[in-house]
């Protein structure tokens, strides 16, 4: 079993008095996609900067492909693909020149024209970088990160500023990275992006890890948070509330709402209780929590 692509242990990043990352640990297994999800200022980019070797951690350690991002910088760089949040390329160079330059750094680069086509950038090959729109610049930066056939790519907000079509293209591309065995660590503040792309999600809030798991685990842990049952009005719901340790209300005549952390077993219990009460259930509706609910619950108060 190969070691993880990224192994971060108790990393702390400080900017003067401000602690941007406060003891974060995570690992990216080889060939998988991990999404760092969080608001602006949650510490995602700072953590990425440590993994990319742009700065050392003020505490803890980071190993990337088994190497130290700073001490082994020159050995590590050819194996990494890095997409910065913005900038990083010559504004006066054309998209084609920039991509060819980065291709020339690599021993076995991807075909530049193929990559330009895949990202819908072929018609901008002779356009100078500073004349490209924000979304086009982002796509070029992604191409730059991929052209050297890296084992591991770091994508900082890869779809920021992209329109819907470009975002879809980018998602498909990231999906094919996983299919081809590339490991990916990306940051995003888009829940649907994390949910649809990532094998693992780490939710960061205020410099710490608020939750971690697969998208399914994170939503399943939260379970069903609202169960609506329609039956005869006026049932003695207090006994059900006691049995489930949940909040049961009759919102309208015969419209019962059961709120709390419920799983499928408690769903069965609820239906059994209605049967015992001699009520005829005419409708059942569950509302499963989404990653968005989990995220909002976890990061509530992030604006403190």
């Amino acid at each position: 079993m190969l070691e993880n692509a990224v192994e971060v242990r108790d990393v702390v990043v400080k900017y003067g008095e401000v602690t941007a990352v406060d003891g974060v640990s995570l690992s990216v297994p080889r060939g998988s996609i991990l999404a760092l999800l969080g608001n602006n200022g949650a510490g995602k980019t700072s953590l990425l900067q440590v993994c990319e070797g742009f700065r050392g951690p003020d505490g803890g350690s980071a190993r990337v492909l088994g190497l130290d991002p700073i001490a082994d910088h020159d050995d590590l760089m050819p194996r990494l693909g890095i997409m910065l949040q913005s900038g990083g390329v010559y504004p006066w160079a054309t998209a084609g020149e920039i991509l060819r330059l980065f291709a020339s750094y690599a021993a076995d680069p991807l075909d530049v024209d193929m990559l330009l086509d895949r990202l819908g950038l072929r018609k901008f090959a002779k356009t100078r970088f500073r004349r490209l729109s924000g979304g086009e610049q982002q796509r070029l930066s992604l191409a730059v990160a991929l052209v050297g056939r890296p084992e591991l790519v770091f994508l900082d907000e890869p779809t920021a500023g992209m329109d819907v079509g470009a975002r879809q293209t980018t998602w498909e591309l990231v999906d094919s990275l996983r299919a081809d065995g590339v490991s990916v660590l990306l940051t995003t503040h888009l829940l649907d992006e994390a949910e649809s792309l990532a094998d693992h999600v780490v939710i960061m809030d205020n410099g710490t890890v608020a939750a971690t798991g697969t998208p399914a685990e994170l939503t399943a842990a939260a379970g069903i948070d609202l169960l609506q049952v329609r039956a005869e009005p006026g049932l003695a719901i207090a006994t059900l509330a006691e049995q489930l340790d949940a909040k049961v209300t009759e919102d309208g005549p015969g419209e019962y709402a059961i709120a709390g952390t419920l799983d499928t077993e408690s769903l069965a219990e609820v239906l059994a209780w209605f049967a015992r009460a001699g009520a005829q259930v005419t409708a059942v509706n569950t509302r499963r929590r989404t990653l968005e609910d989990v995220y909002l619950a976890l990061t509530a108060g992030a604006t403190r």
Binding site: I82, G88, W92, Y105, A106, D108, D180, V182
Partner: protein
Amino acid sequence: MTTGTFTPSPGRAPMRDILKSQVRMELVLTARRGEAVVLAMGVPLLVLLGAGLTEATNVPTDDRLGYVVPGVLALTVMSTAFTGQAITTGYERSYGVLKRLGASPLTRPGLLFSKTAAILCLVGIQILALALVGVVVGWRPDFSHVLPAVGVTVLATAAYCGFALLIASLLRPETVTAGATLIYVLMLAAGGIMFAAPDLGTAGYFVLPLAAHAQALRDTLTDGTAVPGSIWLSLTLWAAVALTLAARKFRWE
């Protein structure tokens, strides 16, 4: 696993190839920026023709071209290695280019090497072109001391590069542009190029590296004499101080 488009195959190209394409990129981008070309070639050319062929300025000798042409050669070294380099590096830093290229297989030493090589390349081309214009209009250089002339030029280039990287690291790019251009204009006026430099004797060589370099080129290329020891010492000191400070203070982002 089947082989797909993105199946990893990481590796660094041979360093020689990387450096070659990086130097080419640096040169292409320099050629593309019109104001840089004018500053580097247009101004020295005007000075050469204006001060060398007319009586517009007072020079301390009867051999106008013999005085002005070496001065212009020294000026163009400064404009490229100091002013142009400082402006470009300042902007590249603010655009995140230095940071990004440092985190690529090019590596930071590779980036510095490419910049230096590109500057030397440009300085060489410009000196040859301007010297050729000088010869066409009547300057008759002496080649007996051409090697020392090359030597002081390399020292001056190193000193200018060091200061360029230093100010590009310390100041905002707009300030770098304004400052580097101002210094260029001041040196053009006071550096002993088209007027005689303020007569400070040997001390002048230590205060004004441009004047020292210009004088060394006049001594070697126009008069066919050796470079004075004080000029060697001055330019060596300038280069050592500049490169030391640059190495200490250089910032990638």
